[in-house]
Amino acid sequence: MGLTNQYIQEKLVEKFADQVCNFEDTYGMLCFEAPKEQNLKILQYLFDEPTLNFQFLTDLCGVNFPDDKGRELAVVYHLHNLKENIRIRFKVFTSIDQTDVFTASKLYSSANWMERETYDFYGINFVGHANLKRILNVDEMDYFPLRKEYPLEDQTRIDKDDEMFGRG
């Protein structure tokens, strides 16, 4: 168990200088971000560098921060080094008007559907993805439902006539 969060941070800063930033320790997990143009280079470096060896993509998902102008959407990667058993979280941010992010599906086969899911819910356009189409929602849907601009139905609304479920 030689690998520590501090060492990972040093290696990343050594390689990418100030491109990688906002390092923080969230409940023991190292978390950092980078410009979205750099995402593949960083993922590849984490994958190939023999002392880091982050070859398992645990999770990939999107997040919407509507108030953060120019950085409304985030793609969050959870990576795991199974040998040293250490996890890290890596984020890239993108604006909601220009949602291109490079795909990680060439590096991880598992990213294929996870990116489709992220596209489906947040509309992030994964550049280079072989089959970027909706996966859980219907193909005809013309919006991205997990964005914060689409609130859930107001629970107190009374204009609906729904005898079966006791509304109205």
Binding site: Y27, C31, Q55, T58, D59, V63, V76, R89, Y108, F121
Partner: protein, 407 residues
């Protein structure tokens, strides 16, 4: 899909491929899965998967629900082992809120989680049996699953979608009946499992049907994000219970069974071995639980009045308790800000919860890492070139649960 007459393999006697639509509701797909297959005779040339038929937008719903109202959503992910999902969610909340649970609670949780793992694996393995033509095993092990469900019922009142436990512990202490039922299970189940193994493990037909089918190498499995028994069957000993112990799993001795080839037969063997291990964990946990005496034996939750519901009789008689009850149910208590990833070893792999809290009453974002959503991608690679009937067995041996896949 309009690729009839796509290039047929060398030596094929067919003149064109046949398109076969398997699913979404079909007796051979245990769950709502659709596969549009291109067949050369009975060999699969290609397949296109469609998922999402029972998508219920849990991640969106969770953004308006206080913590306790998210638990019933997790029930409906992998409904063959919902207690594991419930516990995973409560562990996530506890991590965010900084709640430490007493040892007795951890051990009781482990008993429930391992029972859930057994019931999950029982279903999966016996369904593999059904798909290879042996119905007996499936019907036979239902008796044991019933025993497990009775224990759930005794602890939380429900059977399938359990909504078991609370933040910090359980809703009530285990009754004597619960322990009696557990003892009965521990006494009867080994015989059932041994007999179940006797029916299948060295059964000629079963072996011929499963060996070599749906195989995947360790390297590909890792690249595809396999976890759980499916990854271990390919020879990688990754187990969340060992790698990131939660709920005091570090106090227990158990083996992590691994396979070699990653085929249907190895997956079956790994699951069976895991059931034996789970049984031993339950025995150890039960022994540890029995060592608590006097007041310690009455501990079934952590002391966290902000998140743990007060006693019902207090709610009816005391103003203060009523206020807290209301506040907790309505989610009037703000969570701390933070980002948490917590994973548990679910029935079919690493079940992860990625929770972002902005300090409000509901999660700002909650993402479920659903193991079978991730590894189902590999299905075309597993079955292409094989027979249609083997593809059915492969599907059930992957332990796909539609509820979890579609979230």
């Amino acid at each position: 899909m309009n690729n009839h007459n796509i290039a047929l393999p060398e030596g094929s006697i067919e003149r064109q491929t046949t398109t076969l639509n398997v699913g979404p509701t079909h007796p051979a797909t245990h769950g709502v899965f659709q596969n549009i297959m291109e067949l050369d005779g009975e060999r699969i040339v290609s397949t296109e998967q469609t998922v999402g038929y029972i998508h219920r937008a849990f991640e969106k719903l969770a953004e308006r629900r206080p913590l306790y109202q998210v638990t019933p959503l997790t029930d409906r992910l992998n409904y063959c082992s919902s207690p594991i999902n419930n516990m995973g969610w409560h562990l996530t909340c506890e991590k965010l809120l900084g709640v430490a649970t007493p040892k007795r609670v951890d051990y009781l949780r482990i008993i429930i989680m391992e029972l859930a793992r057994i019931s999950d694996h029982l279903i999966c393995n016996s369904i593999v049996g059904v798909d290879t033509g042996a119905y007996t095993g499936f019907l036979y092990v239902m008796q044991s699953r019933e025993l497990i469900y009775e224990i759930y019922e005794e602890v939380c009142g429900s059977r399938l979608t359990t909504n078991i436990g609370r933040i910090g512990g359980f809703e009530r202490n285990f009754t004597n009946t619960a322990f009696t039922k557990l003892e009965k299970f521990l006494k009867e189940y080994p015989k059932v499992l041994a007999e179940f193994e006797g029916l299948f493990t060295r059964n000629r037909i079963f072996m011929e049907r499963t060996i070599g089918g749906g195989a995947i190498s360790a390297e590909r499995a890792l690249n595809y994000g396999f976890t759980g028994p499916n990854l271990r069957a390919a020879g990688v000993d990754y187990d969340v219970r060992i790698h990131s112990p939660y709920s005091s799993y570090e106090d227990f001795k158990f083996d992590v069974p691994v396979g070699k080839t990653g085929d249907n037969y190895d997956r079956y063997l790994v699951r069976n071995q895991e059931m034996w291990q789970s049984l031993s964990i339950i025995e150890q946990a039960y022994q540890k639980v029995q060592q608590f005496k006097g007041a310690d034996a009455e501990v079934y939750h952590a002391d966290v009045p902000e998140y743990y519901l007060p006693k019902k009789e207090d709610v009816y008689t005391k103003m203060e308790a009523l206020i807290w009850h209301f506040k907790i149910i309505m989610g009037e208590i703000d969570m701390p800000k933070g980002e948490v990833y917590q994973s548990v070893e679910g029935g079919n792999g690493e079940l992860g919860f990625y929770l972002i809290s902005d300090g409000g009453r509901t999660p700002f974002r909650l993402h479920f890492r659903r193991p079978c959503f991730i590894y189902y991608q590999a299905y075309p690679e597993l079955i292409t070139g094989g027979m249609l009937s083997d593809a059915i067995v492969t599907m059930s041996s992957l332990n796909l649960i539609a509820g979890e896949l579609d979230a």
